[in-house]
Structures are given as structure tokens and as C-alpha cells.
Subunit: 511 residues, 4 copies
Amino acid sequence: VLLSDPEAVPESGIGRLASPPDPLLFALLYREQFHRDAKEVLPWLLRVDAAHVLMLAERGILLPEVAASLLRLNRDLSARVRHGEVVLPAPASHRGLYFVYERYFIDHLGGDVGGAAHVARSRNDINAAITRLRLRQELLALLDDGGELLRVALALAGDHSATVMSGFSHFQPAQPATFGHYLGAVTCELARSLALLSASWAVVNRSPMGAGAGLGTSFAIDPARTAALLGFEGAAGNSLDAVASRDYAVHVISPLALLGTTLTRLALDLQMWSSRAYQFLGWPDPLVSTSSMMPQKRNAFVLENIRGQAAVLTGALTSTLAGLKNTPYSNTVEVSSEATSHLWPAVAAAGTAIRLTTLMLRHILVDGERMRTFLDQEETTMTAVADHLVACHGLSFRVAHEVVGRLLRENPPPVSWSPGRVKAGLEAILASEAGHAVALDESELGQALDPVACACAARHGGGPAPEGVRDQLARLEAERCDLAERTASRRRRVEEAAAGLAQAVEALLKI
Amino acid sequence: VLLSDPEAVPESGIGRLASPPDPLLFALLYREQFHRDAKEVLPWLLRVDAAHVLMLAERGILLPEVAASLLRLNRDLSARVRHGEVVLPAPASHRGLYFVYERYFIDHLGGDVGGAAHVARSRNDINAAITRLRLRQELLALLDDGGELLRVALALAGDHSATVMSGFSHFQPAQPATFGHYLGAVTCELARSLALLSASWAVVNRSPMGAGAGLGTSFAIDPARTAALLGFEGAAGNSLDAVASRDYAVHVISPLALLGTTLTRLALDLQMWSSRAYQFLGWPDPLVSTSSMMPQKRNAFVLENIRGQAAVLTGALTSTLAGLKNTPYSNTVEVSSEATSHLWPAVAAAGTAIRLTTLMLRHILVDGERMRTFLDQEETTMTAVADHLVACHGLSFRVAHEVVGRLLRENPPPVSWSPGRVKAGLEAILASEAGHAVALDESELGQALDPVACACAARHGGGPAPEGVRDQLARLEAERCDLAERTASRRRRVEEAAAGLAQAVEALLKI
Amino acid sequence: VLLSDPEAVPESGIGRLASPPDPLLFALLYREQFHRDAKEVLPWLLRVDAAHVLMLAERGILLPEVAASLLRLNRDLSARVRHGEVVLPAPASHRGLYFVYERYFIDHLGGDVGGAAHVARSRNDINAAITRLRLRQELLALLDDGGELLRVALALAGDHSATVMSGFSHFQPAQPATFGHYLGAVTCELARSLALLSASWAVVNRSPMGAGAGLGTSFAIDPARTAALLGFEGAAGNSLDAVASRDYAVHVISPLALLGTTLTRLALDLQMWSSRAYQFLGWPDPLVSTSSMMPQKRNAFVLENIRGQAAVLTGALTSTLAGLKNTPYSNTVEVSSEATSHLWPAVAAAGTAIRLTTLMLRHILVDGERMRTFLDQEETTMTAVADHLVACHGLSFRVAHEVVGRLLRENPPPVSWSPGRVKAGLEAILASEAGHAVALDESELGQALDPVACACAARHGGGPAPEGVRDQLARLEAERCDLAERTASRRRRVEEAAAGLAQAVEALLKI
Amino acid sequence: VLLSDPEAVPESGIGRLASPPDPLLFALLYREQFHRDAKEVLPWLLRVDAAHVLMLAERGILLPEVAASLLRLNRDLSARVRHGEVVLPAPASHRGLYFVYERYFIDHLGGDVGGAAHVARSRNDINAAITRLRLRQELLALLDDGGELLRVALALAGDHSATVMSGFSHFQPAQPATFGHYLGAVTCELARSLALLSASWAVVNRSPMGAGAGLGTSFAIDPARTAALLGFEGAAGNSLDAVASRDYAVHVISPLALLGTTLTRLALDLQMWSSRAYQFLGWPDPLVSTSSMMPQKRNAFVLENIRGQAAVLTGALTSTLAGLKNTPYSNTVEVSSEATSHLWPAVAAAGTAIRLTTLMLRHILVDGERMRTFLDQEETTMTAVADHLVACHGLSFRVAHEVVGRLLRENPPPVSWSPGRVKAGLEAILASEAGHAVALDESELGQALDPVACACAARHGGGPAPEGVRDQLARLEAERCDLAERTASRRRRVEEAAAGLAQAVEALLKI
């Protein structure tokens, strides 16, 4: 009568407890969560259950016929779940998906068989395993999306390796640059964050199965086998660590928060440059919005959505760290459910930010002519003029800088800087102030004053000269390919493990 | 007269500007900062300057005699700084350390020589380089401290691989465990954070020199050479990335925040277990405090200081990410000075937390007897009793769990659970409720009820059995050695580069 | 043909744009959001629309018959929405709820009437208004829940004003205390946070309607009237502030984060005291959980869920501040949608934490006897002994403290401290070390050593003596009543405004 | 011999402990802290000590002559501290300032007198009191600085109530506005944050003295008297709350973080508008910087420093909340020292941000002509054209908006929009598409197209019309005056209390 009769024992009559949860507790913690879990957790629970039962059977801990019964029901449920069916009806009261799931097996197979799978395991190691499996899936998607972002950014940068524009610092024109150089710079940081994200795989993809409630088991299980069946790269070494740790949440969210932050910087620059004051950039109608009130509007509002996601990520990182703080190093809901819950909004926000950025880069309209017009109005080549005095006339850079600065001070903008005017001005200052009677060459000065020539000359120190940019992009492209291949090979291994598990189940069922 | 006469040009008369900073600005941003920079930045500025000048001379961009003059003064200043001398007096007004530094060279060598070093460079790449050099130094110290923490934790865990105690979950006794297993679990997470910290080295240790203001240079410099002279592992590929990015701050602070958070969990457990309610642990007088009011007090307050540091780190990570958000991807004080400033309190807090934890672990007093006494009063072996029913009597785990739960429900604590009592109780329930008329073996039940036997049996799934713990610790020790060797070899390379730079300077001065 | 024919103009053919949004954009930003908005935003949009149209009609900006047509459709939609009907079918593509909503009016009433409501308004002020209305509703609920938490906490504290227990500091027994005093202390901080939350009402409950896109309007509208119809306490003074500011999100989340943090402290204490090492507290079966593996378990896991919510709140606060950082002070999606989006998870988490805590306090089981037993084993009255030497024998406190400390040092625990033993020990130390030959009174010492007498004597400085606790609770009860009345009166005003709006609509429709 | 002989008792030989702190502990926690405390804490400790001793004497708990000796030494030390003297030499080892301080009194007055002050108090309530006193001081300074920021911002806004510029949304020109309106909008939010900061005063300015270690005292002290002597507005009601709570840190840092975030928005707008693409704004040389490499540069870098401070504040808020999380509600270093430590960098960062912003607003150079030139090139009056069709020709706004949108779609920029061109275009569209054959008035259209006329017409809904702006500013000015008066009166009360304490000490010493 203990478990065979579903009516005889209340849902929560397990262990020392004899009552269902308090109704308010049920309403606040279990009722809605059940439906989310039935969608997001159940498919993984079935997978973990199958791997565990298989391993138990292989180790002789479960009788073959018991394992077969369990796996047959598991296989059927899995198939129905894959077809979108709701297989577990929610009872009027319960204590969470797992107990409803196990009860389903008991109801269908009886307590002696349906209750047999839970040997040498606990909800603790099962939950820990499921979180890792879900996260692993999300990681692969993020790495794919991130790789595509890199691809589109590098292609755009390549198209604009020779699109000359003003470089900026402190929001002010600095020196001549290229748009491809700018995009390459941002891509460097994105690539570093994605490499860091990719490195989290090794921390995430370890199996906690076998840890039980955190203190292992006396049954001679084979955790490495369970791990392999689930596509994990190995089993956790210490059972308490396996259930108590969620550090991998930080290993994952931290690169995402960093990547999101980089995207805010890119999105700010792009939105500024697309504003009417610059008009360097634009997007076609399907990527801008107008105003319900102002008919002239073309707002690149998507860039604002992108920036908003970074704030989600920074908050998720804070929540995770704050959530872990001052918790016992053992199983606790505070860690296993609560502190871990920030992962899912974080991966969603990161995915959105990455895909929106890719979209905006893919369809960006670049107005190279306006970039040039703007550049021509600014004094971005004055460093080149100073450099010329150093390179060709032997001045020290500081003296040259001071001489050019003096020229600028004496001629407040707007000034039209012809080579002749610069020559006359500099020669006068050099003679009177710096004690250098120098005859400057007007055509050389003309070169120094030409923004395009300047940009092309800046080919040292990782500068924006087109040829240098192309080299930089080639190196980034190689990194991108590495990342893409690593991701693809991981995906392959995960899929092979899933197929292997299904085959092993079939094999056992055939016996 | 331009630069040769220090009186002729106001300190800030560079470029287009003709005035010193506003006095309030000076008071708020420059005055105090100068003294901090003179201590923490100047030694690195001298080093960067020397490497840059050497490279310029080698590339023929500076005349040998100009380079020699600059390097001679640099060498002398460096020596005086190493002896703790204050070498740069603070002018009444200035715009920061760099301009005072350069003015010092101009005052001593004249503008034509003293102003010559600043070719193909900017404060932007210099500042970026100095931050990385400082951080690299801190990283080495943190990795050493972290390695020592691992060493002490593993040694303590090894001493207590067979010290049986109650394992816990949800603050309640769970199953028998060992103290060495607990310490091993925490060390697993610490080791993962330190490995992540160690991986940041490759991101941190890249040279931005040559990037200038962010847009490279037309001078045919050799950034790889400058990088090598400074012990960097290579030069940045893109000059804008070199000055605009500070992502490495997140690469460093994030593992520190995670590590700090793990330490809060350890410190909470240790403080709870050292409280009068447990008395598992203690520390000698020099590591506890009393109260100015309550003479009986022995407070393990250091654990509270440790936990406080984690909050510093979480905040520093938040500050860094928030500081980077929505900034242009180019040089800006908001990034290069402000967002980067959180690094130093963070590394200090992490160092304190690590060293205090090491200290507390080194001197911990473990009372194995009280651990055993506590364990004997709790019902932590009831899972083992259920496991026994499964392993020896063929019950499904859920039925066995339910049977034992029923026994406990019928006998509310305090109960003295003799094997005989358990045998009688279980047999009755099995017969009446579960339909299993089973004769249990009292001596086997006695084994299941014995916490020490239980702990020793838990040798699967990474459990706390002493032999398993020793294996786990051996694997962690191997990781620790790897980390220590990697750190030592990095330190060696850094020191060799410093020596190489000094030798190259001497060689040039000898010519 | 412009708007009267729904087929003639694509959904997004407004203003200068002629295309629907990019399909990926639609998928990422609009598709799912529409259904959420249809549930959470539409009811408020109808309300705002009605108030605006009424005001326009009253000011003669809309013709009465146009206003009547609009309001009639609005009233019908509102009624259907109240009955849970889905009234706005989602088009295959669209640019968000508002445009679909307006299109619905145009389809039903023609462009000349259906498109008439949008004069002197924009989505910007409408969205701003709706966020405030939603938040106001949440605020009332939170203040009610918070008031109930105070009520239950104060009732429990009142029940235990004389339940003597050990006070603690640094996790160690300190001096005798009462459980009611502890609960009163925590309630003080909760009451302060709720008062701060309550103060946010004045910032939240202001109407942005009339601000348009942020730059007001030339139509002679009456923003105060719209505000009154919506139950706002006034209209925003500056139109740009009205649409650009979301500071009220911080005004609301910040007290919630603080309150959540206080609840973590309470929940940690309660969980520690309910652990087997203390057993001061417990909860009935419906509020604890067992383990799927360990049948003896009774985990007060709800306290862990409570603590998890605080981390949500800290993260939401961080996200909001990071989200607002470096945004233009004008309308931007980054602020109006993104940075504001953290409000809803925050209010949900706070509501959950508050209600779960109330539940746990309501059903708590307090074991006063175990509290006393614990107290009797600890040396918490040693300060009282020192105080006795000061009060009755004229020693300075530091000398008295030192004398008692010496006694304790010479008699390491466990010691059974009878008055006679203390008398003999102290007299010896006083004579030999402190030069005070004093005869102590054994019965007075007995009083000082008695924890209950100590707790009752601690009636100064806000101490735990039962009578003092009752006074403290009475003051808190007065604060609680104030808060409850303020909340009730606000709710009344909001409901009256809703009724007034409905009546005004009816009145206009009757004409 | 106990305390009278400084050599007889080791520094830390208090209570049960007999050893000085571990040397590493001393190095990490005490050594440097002592010097900071001697500067920042000691003056307040002397003040608290004086008030406590006075109260004890008044209540007859201390003999008058004992109190007089203590107060005389206190008065002398206070005077020397006020003169900048270092009065407490740091011993080779110690356990923090308080014990060194008390030892100083014992050394000078003997143990019977020098050790007498510590009755009915503990370091816990003393530390809590000192933190509140320090913070109160900082609060007054911040409220003064904040008031001055409001004053300067309002003055500037007043100067520019009629300076017409483009309003913006989504970084794009929106409708005509005024610079004074923009400044007024930002000032609204600043004023709300300062009001919230001001409200924290009531939470901060409560006295914890009398709470002892958190559990009150049996001595019949008068906490209200101590509170009054220290200028507090009352004594804490519950002694445990008095020492365990630091919620006021969040009450203070939260408005500062919000205020800092608002300043980032202002600083971003100002820096964008001062960039060469806009040139609306500028600053004189003393407030901009140039580049060490680019002689043409004028960087408004101070705005970047301002924005950096907001990140400090967001991090400090996170640190404080994370620091408080999961701590016992009782005295703990984790709260009283660690979580509270973030206050001081936060108030410093806020002060810097506020004062730098004030400085930048005070010296801002506004180029109204460039604001107009920019406005003339943009289509910011198109909403006014649509409004005209509504107001004068009876179109519904949506139809009018669509008609104008159509006109814009058919005439992509750049277009020179003369009234005649608009008239012809609109009439054609109205006739063919909207079925409205309307004759438009060219001179009325000219009004609608004129940005200045538009800005002046926008006088409803809090819009930017100069007269409306002046009204808005007048209301803000009234709020500012309230704040300034409230701050001044608080400062007065604090100063009066300090004077009253000094007089009471003198009076007692005269007896």
C-alpha cells in the first residue's frame, strides 16, 4: 500500500513529512513553476533519467527487466514530449516537477519498479546535471551567434578597410582613420569575450551525476559512464562540489556581460554617427522606426535595445554573485535554484543583443562621402604636420607639437589650412620662437595635410592604413574560424552522445 | 624660447591651450592624484620610456646621442626612485604626472633633446601600457597568494581526510562526511577561479605601445621590440583597440569576485561550525577577538573581514562594467582612468581575503571528537538504512525511503536508534504497509547506522570516504603544482625582460 | 484612401517610413512582446486614452461627436478586456501594441475619427503614463503586503516579549535577550524600508500626459485635468523630464532591495536557529520539505527562496542604474523600455519575499525551553557580573571586565558557574591582582548570573527587558498603523479617480 | 596591578584573551587602519566619549571627580587633535584604535579612573555612533554642494530660457526646444534625488549610544541626553537594531547613485553638443585639455570624469547591499566595518561629480547661433505642420501626420522647405490621397515651419516656450530654497549641540 496505490499516500508523504505544501507556498513557488519546468526541464530530466538507469543496469544495481520497464516508459514519454505533448498533468498540489514525474512512473509501473530508478541519486545531482545540460545547449547557440557576429563584422570591416573617416577621441576628431579599422578594433574585443565564453565550456560540461545529495553513495556506480552517455566531458571529482557549486554561472555570465558592454560602445558610436549631425551611417526602413507624433523621424532605435541588454547582463552577474554570497558550501535552494535562475534571462539577453547587432551591421548603409566631407572640415592632420617637422626637419616632437599648437592658437577656427598658409605660419613661428630658421616644402606639407594620405601612412603600430587593416582582419578571421570549428566539434560530440544514449536504450530494450 | 626656457611656457601651454587648469579642477583631479602617481605610476613610466626610446634609437628614428641623453637621465631617475627618493617635485599647478615628467627632461636636457622621446607615442598608449604593467605585477602576486591558499587548504584537507563529521544541506545534518571532503570541495571551486584568473594573463600581458593616440603612426617603429623589452607577450594588433579597450579589467576582476564569493561560503561554514552551538572548530588567541564589554567572548571575526572583501569585489566588477557602458570605442578618460580605477581596490581586497583565509586555515583547531558527538545525535544514516533495504532486500529505493520515512514519522525525536529498534520498526512497517515480510539482520543494520562506516562506504560518485578524498586531493595537488609552475615561469620571463632592458640601455650608453 | 482603407497603407506606413519591420527584428522585439503588452499594457492604454480624449473634448480640441465615438469604442473594449477577452488580434507584422491599437480604432471608426485621438500626445508620454499607472498598482500591493508583514512580525514579537534566549554577536552567544526583542529589531529596519518605499509614491504618481514626445504642444490642453482623471497627484512640470526620466524606478527598487536584504538577515538567523544544532524554532510539515534521498530531512527551504529574492532585487537595481547610465536626457528606448523593464521582476521578487516571510512568521513554532537550555550552558551573564562589581563595589568597568576575564581565562570551559565558585574566584583575583579586598554577596552574584534576571534587568538603552520590548513594539505598531492608513487612503483616491473617469465618460456619451 | 601598570598587562590582555593579534593579522587589518582612524575616527570618538561620560555623571553612575578627570583629559586631547597633533602613538601591536585610546586614559589616570568610562557602553554602540556622526557631516556637505549645483543650473537655465535649439530624441532632432528647457528638465531629476538624499537625514541622525553590545544595559542611563549632547534627533528605540543596522548606508548611497546617473546623462549630452559635429557648447582653456600628441585638441574631458563617478556610486551601492546580504541581525564586523566602508568612497565620488558638474555649468560657453543654424537645417517643425492641419483644417492628427509623412517620403533630404513648397506638396497629397481638397495659407504655414515660433508656441504640457520655462524654473527655485534652508537649519542644530556639549563639559569641570 505504501506507493502502489496513488490514493493511499499524499503527494508529499515522502520521508518524515505527511502533508502537502501550504497553499500559499504552493501558489508562490510551485504552481507556475511547474508549467515552466514541464517545458524547459522535463526533456532533460528524461535524458538524465535514461542515462542513470542505463548505467545502473550495466553495473547490475538494477535488474535488467526493471531497467527495461523504466526505459520503455522513458522512451515513450520522451517521444511524446518531443512532439510537444503535455505529458505530466499538474496535480492540485505537489512539491515540484520531480515528485510528479516519479509518481507518474510509480502509477504506471508500480512502486517496486517505478520507484527503483532513484537509487544512488538525489534531486540534488539531477538538478545540477539538468542546469548544466540546458546551459550547454544555450552556450552552443551563443557561440554560433557570436561567431556569426564576428563574420558579419569582419566582412563589413573588410569592405571598409579603405573608407577614410575621422578617428575620434573624447568625442572629438583626432586623426584620419578608416571605418574598417574602427570595426576591426571593436571586433578584437568581441573576439576576446567570445574566447572567454568558449573557455567556460570546460567548466560547464562536467557531470554531477553520482554525487547524490552531495555525499556520494555506497553503491558501486560508474559516474564516468553516466557522464559519457550525457555528452559530458567527465564526472565531477568531489560530490559536494558537484551539488554545491554553481560557479560556472559566473564563468558564463561574466563574458556575456563584457560582450554586452562592448556592444553598448559600438552601438553608441553607430547611433551617434547615424545622427543628423554626422550622417555617416544609416539603415533602410525595416530597421528604423518613426514617431507616432513626428513624421520626419528615422530612429535607429534598435541600437537602444542592444544597449539595454547589457544592463540586463550586468544585473544578472550582480544577482548571481550576490545570490551566492554567504551561502553554505552544500546543497541549498538559495544556490541551486535561486542564484542559478539568473542564467536564463542572461543568455536570452545576450542572444538578443548579439543577433540585433549582427542584423544592424549586415544592413548598415555607409556614406563614405559624408565621412570625407566631415574630415575635410577638421584639423585632424595637425599631428602629421608635427610629425613632418620631426621626420624631415629634425625637430624634437615636443617642439614640433608646440610650434603647430602655436600656429593653431594664433588662428582660431574656422580656418582653411592651405599648404601655403601652413608653411608661412610655421616658418614664422619656427624662426621667431624656436630658433629654427627652416624652409618648409609646400608639396610635402600638402601630403601631411591630406587626410587620405595620412590614413594610408598610418601603417605602423596597428594603425588604420588599409593594408594594415587587412592584415589585422586576416588575423581576426583566423581566430573566428578557430572558434567556429571548436563550436562545431562540440556540437557534434553532444549530438553523438545523444544518439549513443538512444542506441544504448534501444539495445537494452531489445534484450 | 619655445621649450628650452621653463619660464617662457606655462606648464599647460601645450598645443592649442594657453592656460593652466582651473584651480578647482586642479584641486579635485590633479593635486592628490599626482602624489599617488609619483609612487605607483612613475616607476613604470620610466620603464616604458626607456623601452620606447631604445626602440626608436634602434630604428634610427632618434639619433644615438639623443637617445643616450634621454636614457642616461632615465637611468638616474630610475635608480633614485628605486631608493625611495621623491624625484619629481609637484609644481603649483600642472596637468598630471606625464607633463611634469616630460618637463623635467626638457628642463635638464633642453627642448630639442628632452622633448624628443614623445615621437610615435601618446599619453594614451603610455597610460594603457602602464596599467597593464601594474596589473601584471598584481596578477603575479595574486596567483602566488592563491597558490599558497590552495597549498594550505589541501594540506589541511589531507590531515582530515578521515575526520568524520556530519555533512549538511539546507543547514541541516545530511549524511556522514569527512572534513577533508568538505575542504576538498571548496578547493575545487577555488582552483577553478584561480585557473580563470591565470588565463587572464594572456589578455593582460599585451603591449599597446605604438598605438599612439589610437591611430598608429607613420614612423616605422617596431612595436614587437618595445613589447619584448617590457616583457609583454606581443604587441596589440589594432591601435584603436590598444587604447580603447580595458576589457582585461573584467577578465581579472571577474575571477576575483567569484573567488571572493567562494571564500564567503567557506567563511560562513567555518564561523558557524566554530560557534558555541557546534564547537567543531576554533582558533588560538592571536586569531580571535574578545569584546570590550563581554569578557567571555572569543569571536572569529576575521571570517567576517574575509566575507566583507567579496562585497568589495562584486562592487568593483559592477563599477567596471557600468563604467564601460555607453562609452565611445576610442580613448576617453571615462574608460582609461575611471573605469580602470576599480582594479586597484579589487586586487587589494582579493589579496586580503586570500591571505586572511590562508592564515585562518593554517592555524585552525579542529575538534574531531565534537564532530563525532554531534553526528551521533543526528539521524544522518537513515539514507544508508534505506540503501541497505535496496541493496540487501531488493526494495526499490522509493519504497525503502518511504518505509524509513514512516519509521521516523512514527518515532519523533529524540529517539535512540539502536539496531534492534530499527529492525523491529522496519519489519513491522514492511509487513503491514509494503507487503514485504522481510527479516532484517541486526548486525548489518548496525553497520548502516554507524556514521563512520557510512562515511567510509561513501566512496563512489566523489563521496567522502577517506581513500576517495585522498585521490581527489591528489588531483587537486597536481592542478596546484601546474598553477604554481606557470606563475613562476611567468615571473621569470618578466624579470628576464627587465634585466634585458637594463642591459640594452647600458649597451647603448656605452657606445 | 490614406487611413480609411486598412489595406491601402501598410501597418508601418506611418510618417516617412514605408516598410514593415525587418522579420528578424519583428521576431526578436515585437512578436512575443505584443502578447505580454496585450495583457499588461492594454488595460492601462484604454484608461489613458479615455482620459486624454475626455480632456480634449472638454477643451474643445475634439468635437463632442468625435470624442463620443472614440470613447464608446474605448468603453466597449475596456469591458471586454475586463472580462478577459483578447480584443486585439496580432497582425502578421506590426510595430508594437500602440499602432495596432490605433489601427483598430481607424478600422472601426474611419481615419477621420479613429485617428483623431492622437493630437497633443505621443507614444512617449502615453508609455510614460502607463508605466507609472502599472507601478502605482504594484506599489499599493507591496505596501499592503509589507504592512501585513509588519503586523505579523509585531504580533509574534509581542507573543515573545518575555521569551528569554541568548542574544548573539559574531555568531556567538553574547548576553541574555528575548526573542521579541530580536524580532522588534528586525521590524525596525523593515519599517524604515517600507516608509522609504511609501515615500516613493509622491515621485511615482505624477502624470506625464501632455508632454507629447517630450517637447509639449501648442494645443491648449489641460494636463492637470488628465492627471486628475487618472488619479495622479499632479502633472509633470517639464515635458522633457516627463518623458526622459525614469528615476522613480530607482526610488522604488532601492527600498525593495534594502528590504530584501533585511529579509536575508532575518531568514539566515531563523534558519540557523531552526537547525538541529539549535532547535529553537521549527515549522509544521506544510512549510518544510524533505529530501528525495534522505528520509529524516525537514528543511526550512522557504527561507532560502526568500534570500534568493534579495539577489534579484540587488541585480534589478544594478541593471536599472547601469541601464540609465550615459543615455541622453530625452526619449530613448534604452530608458523608457529597457531600463524600466527591471521594475516588474523586482516588484514580483519583493512581493514573493515579503509574503513568504509573512507566511513563515505566521506559522513559526518557537521552543522557549530549548532557548533556555542553550542559554544555561553559555557564559552570557559575565558582563552582568562585571556590571555588578561596578555598581555595587565601585570598580571601574575596565578593571571589573579584566577581573572577570581573568577568572574565565583561569577556568576554561566547560565550567559550571555557581555563585559560590564565582565569588571565590573573583575575590581571589581582586585581592591579589587588583588590590581590592572585597567581600562579594553570593545571592547578588546569583542574580547577576541568572540569565532571566539579566534579560529583565536590561531595560535601558532599548534593551531586551520584556517591559521595554512592549514599549518598543507599541511605537512600531503606531508606525505600522500610519503606513496602513496612508496606503488605504491612496488606494481610495485611485479608485475614486477610476470611478470619476468612468462617470465622466458616461456623462459625455449621454449628450 | 591589573590595569594600573601598563607593562603588567599585554595590550590585548582583555577578557579571556591573553595574546596580541597574529602579526599577519595585525599587518592586514590593524596597522594602516590605525592611522586612518586616528585622523577620521578619533575626533568623533572624543566627542562621543565626552557625551557619554557627562551623561553618566549626570545620572550618578560615575562620581563627579572621576568624570571630571576623564573629561579634562578628553578636552585636552580634543584641543590637540583640533590643532592637527598626532596624540595617540601607535603601539608595536594593538587591536585597533579604541583599545589604544582607552589604554591612553588608563596610563594617564590609572585603571580605576581611566577604565571607568566604559560602563554601559561597548565598542559596538560607539562605532555605530561614530559612523553616523561622520556620515551626518558628509551629508551636510553633499546637500550644500547639491544645492549649489541646483543654483548654478537654474541660473544657467534662466539665462537660456529663450535660447532656441533643436530638441532631440533617439539622438535625432525632434522638435524645436530651448536650452533652458533642457536644463530645467535635468534639474527636475537632480532636485528629486537631492530631496531623497535630504530625507535620509532622519534615518541617519539617530543615536545608538546606550545600546552597548546590542542588548542594552541594566544601568539607569539616559540615552536621550547622550543623543541630544551629540546633536542626534533622538535615541534608537531597540538596542539590537542600533548596533546591527546599517540600512542608512543604502538610504544615503542610493540617492547619490541616482544623482550620479543623472549627471552621466547631462554630461553625455553636453559632451556631444560640444563636439565638433555640433559646436553648440564650449569651455574656456582652463576647463579643457589638449593632447600630448594632437595639437589641435580641445577635449571636454571633465565630463568623462563626472561620468566615471557614477560608476563608483553604482558599485558602492552594490557592494553595500551584497555586503549586508546573509549576515546575522546582530553585531558583526561584516556589517559594522565592511559593508559600511563603501560609504566613504561613495560620498567622495558624489562630491566630486557634483562639484565638477557645477564648475562646468558655471563656465559653459553657449553658442546660440550655431544652435539656430543646426535647427534650420533639420525638419523639426513637421509636427507643427501636422498640428496646423488639425487645428486649422480639421484633419484628424493621424491623417495629418500621414499626409506630412507622405510629403517627406516623396522629397528625400536635403530639401529646402519653403512655405510655398510645403503648401503645394500638401495640397496635392490632401486632394489625391486623403480626399480633402484644402487651400492652405502660406503665411500660416510659414509660422508652423519657423522653429522659433514653434518653440514659443509649445507652452502647454510643460513645453519649452520661454514663458513656460520661466514658470518651471521658478517652481524649481522654490524647491531649491527649501532644500537650502533645511540644510542650513540642520547644520545650525548640529553646531549648537557641539557648543552645548563643550559648555556642559566646562560646567562640570568648574565644579
